[in-house]
């Protein structure tokens, strides 16, 4: 703040001589103040968490990797955020009524399982490790994928199914829940992501 701007209310570029402010300049400044006040109100509303948006791109269809997008989506919806989950490639199986009931974990090349690869590759091992994980989920009262998916829809999360992947896997609309959005592609996802506060690829 300079001292000559505070003493008389005159600015340096006011017309010299008569001391009255230029009405055009005043109108310009008033318009500018109005714009800034509107923007400030928007920024304050965003800071309050009122209008937050999140987009998750869900690409994985294993039982373990199906969880994070749905957990984050339902929690964000609980915060009142506007949430979209775009399911592509194997992520599509999470929305598919039949496929989502048989999501599995892979034993081979999974360093989190204490099973040597030579054993993990034996026929039926994926079924064993999947059954183990399902039992843990049940014992610990963790919600099932189906429960989480239904909860997300109840809470207004938009679950989208990538049209290209649907064509690739030869899925039609039928096996998907009525509330799942079909007929969308990468451009739809990107447009939402550009406007979103949180964007995640899982």
């Amino acid at each position: 703040m300079s001292s000559d701007a505070t003493d008389s209310g005159e600015t340096a570029d006011a017309p010299p001589g008569d001391g009255t402010p230029d009405p055009v300049r005043v109108a310009e400044l008033e318009a500018r103040i109005e714009t800034l006040e509107t923007r400030l109100a928007e920024v304050e509303a965003e800071a309050d968490g009122g209008d937050r948006e999140m987009v998750i791109i869900a690409t994985q269809g294993t039982l373990d990797m199906a969880y994070p997008p749905l957990i984050l989506a339902s929690t964000a919806a609980a915060f009142g955020w506007d949430v979209t989950v775009f399911h592509t490639f194997w992520g599509l199986d999470v929305l598919h009524e039949e496929a989502s009931e048989s999501l599995a974990v892979s034993s081979v090349g999974n360093p989190n399982l204490s099973v040597p690869n030579a054993v993990a590759a034996l026929p039926g091992m994926d079924r064993v490790t999947t059954a183990m994980l399902e039992r843990r989920i049940d014992d610990e009262d963790v919600a099932t994928i189906e429960e989480l998916r239904e909860t997300c829809l109840e809470m207004g999360v938009e679950l989208q199914a990538c049209q290209m992947t649907m064509d690739l896997f030869e899925y039609d609309d039928e096996p998907f829940h009525d509330e799942v959005t079909t007929g969308v592609g990468a451009a739809t996802a990107l447009e939402r992501m550009a406007d979103a506060d949180v964007q995640l690829l899982v």
Binding site: I71, A78, F79, D141, M155
Partner: protein
């Protein structure tokens, strides 16, 4: 500590894990009028931090108290959530 005030509604999410305590709390709050007090009973230890974080980041609700009780040998986390007018 939880408030002495009588809750308007009690929500039982005992046995449910993340994210359900927060999700069910939000759903219950949506059905309540301004000024109501919701009491949530959870066994998920993470609900202490999660419901606090959720209430701080959600307009229109305030966490007014949290407590821990032992019921039949099990720890129950009690949360008091107020719906703002």
């Amino acid at each position: 500590m939880v408030t002495e005030r009588e809750p308007t509604e009690t929500l039982d999410v005992k046995g449910e894990s993340c994210p359900m305590p927060v999700v069910r709390t939000k759903q219950a709050v949506d059905d309540l009028d301004g000024g109501s007090l919701l009491e949530v009973h959870a066994t998920d230890e993470g609900s202490v931090s999660d419901i606090d974080g959720w209430a701080s980041g959600t307009p229109g609700v305030a966490l007014v108290g949290q407590d821990e009780r032992t019921v039949d040998g099990e720890t129950v986390y009690v949360h008091h959530v107020e719906v703002e007018e």
